[in-house]
């Protein structure tokens, strides 16, 4: 089990974090540019988690939200750093367990990420927004559950699932194809079990 969280903290992994955060920004930007009904703002976190392991993934996610807060002045994003952290950890752990090897297997990874997001975000949504998420489809569902007298927590939970799980599935599929296309030379840089042979 110890191997799941094993992390190399060298220059390569440190450099990976800003690159992944850049990718997160880019995903979000393209998603809004193409007017897709998804966020796609954690592709980088997922890539970071697959390459560097759960710790790097979690750090990527958390710092991503901190920087996003600093650059947009939206400090409510800061609290969702917890969610991003959870997504990074979930993807990192499942990827280490071998669930990113084939496309069908990666769906499990996506589900883990989606569930992590839902479980962490739901209480935050209830605390700060009274249960809404800001996504039209999710909030419509939330309104329906509230109109039928269901508890706020359950309504918010359904709201989150509708929004997060499809988003994470697409995100992981994109991350999967990107990782497939990455040259071996780069992937080797982040292999935790790689041994450095000294010639002296």
């Amino acid at each position: 089990m110890g191997n799941l969280f094993k992390t190399k903290l060298n220059a390569a992994t440190i450099v990976l974090i800003p690159a992944c955060i850049g990718i997160n920004y880019l995903g979000k930007l393209f998603a809004s540019l193409l007017k897709l009904p998804l966020w796609l703002d954690c592709i980088g976190t997922c890539i970071g988690a697959c390459l560097g392991g759960p710790v790097i993934g979690g750090v990527c996610g958390a710092i991503n939200n901190i920087i996003y807060g600093l650059t947009t002045g939206d400090n409510i994003t800061l609290i969702y750093a917890l969610t991003s952290f959870g997504i990074g950890i979930a993807v990192g752990v499942t990827a280490r367990m071998g669930f990113m090897e084939t496309l069908p297997k990666s769906l499990i990874c996506a589900l883990a990420a989606g569930l992590a997001a839902v479980i962490i975000s739901t209480p935050l949504n209830v605390m700060f927004w009274g249960g809404t998420t800001g996504n039209v489809w999710g909030d419509a569902a939330f309104a329906v559950t509230q109109a039928n007298g269901l508890p706020v927590l359950l309504g918010s939970f359904i709201d989150e699932i509708l929004v997060d799980v499809p988003d994470k599935i697409i995100t992981i599929i994109i991350a999967f194809f990107i990782l497939k296309g990455l040259p071996e030379k780069i992937k080797a840089l982040y292999d935790v079990n790689a041994e450095v042979e000294r010639l002296d």
Partner: protein, 257 residues
């Protein structure tokens, strides 16, 4: 200075204050109404944040930061006003829609909290360069590696944005459609993002080597190029904010007894 940061140097007093002092202001502005538990306190902190934004000549730039929350606020009022589970007393009816008092009050509480948080944070973000905050944190023993991570994001993201424009033009000139049905737009996503992502990840290798060569992994204590003098106001304001926080806690405890 990167194009990503919201900070603009205007030489105001707020610009010169220590980042920690401004962070403490954010903390106080958010916590005092929550601890105090009275809605009127939100009005006080919101007013003080707006006043600080005016003094710092940043009110205009704060508007877009706050504006995005308006749609959310409307949604919250709609959902809670119509469907809040404790709804009993009707307040207003528009045709078949009936807004209830409890729901509207509940929504008002949430929205005041949101506005308060956003405004106080705007005071911080618009008056503090992130690099300065990171440097101060590093001086107080924050890991310089993570300091590097945060600073380098501010360099990498604008770079990637530039690459993004190039890729977008290149793919469009090859006849890729970026507008139209949802399926077309989904199909366009991967060809757009993958070249930028690939180049970013491939660049990390070179960047890592460059850092390694410059002794990035060394554990020696680092020295800093810029020295900052502490303003007299920093101590005064910090003390004032702390006493406000304590006052709020005392007041709450007293009202509970």
């Amino acid at each position: 200075m990167s194009g990503l940061s919201l900070y603009v140097d205007q030489g105001t007093y707020l610009n010169r204050l220590h980042p920690y002092t401004k962070l403490l202001y954010v903390l106080t502005a958010i916590l005092v109404p929550l601890i105090g538990g009275k809605k009127i306190l939100f009005a006080v902190t919101i007013a003080s944040s707006i006043l600080l934004l005016i003094i710092g000549k940043t009110l205009k730039r704060a508007v877009p930061l706050i504006a995005f929350s308006f749609t959310l606020i409307i949604v919250i009022f709609l959902v809670q006003g119509l469907f809040f589970h404790k709804n009993e007393i009707p307040l207003l009816s528009l045709g078949f829609l009936v807004f209830y008092r409890e729901g509207v009050m509940y929504a008002a509480g949430i929205c005041l909290n949101i506005l308060n948080m956003l405004l106080s944070f705007a005071v911080f973000v618009l008056n503090t360069p992130p690099q300065e905050l990171v440097e101060e944190l590093e001086k107080n023993g924050f890991s310089s590696k993570f300091g590097y991570v945060i600073n380098s994001v501010f360099q990498i993201v604008p770079q990637m944005m530039k690459t993004k424009d190039t890729i977008l033009d290149a793919q469009r000139s090859r006849g890729m459609e970026t507008e139209g049905s949802l399926m077309t737009r989904i199909k366009a996503f991967l060809p757009l993002i993958s070249p930028v992502v690939m180049s970013a990840l491939i660049n990390t290798r070179e960047r890592a080597i460059a850092l390694e060569v410059r002794g990035f992994g060394r554990k020696n204590k680092k020295t800093f190029i810029s020295e900052r003098q502490k303003l007299k106001g920093d101590t005064v304001i910090t003390a004032l904010l702390f006493s406000l926080l304590i006052l709020a806690v005392v007041w709450r405890v007293k009202s509970c007894l």
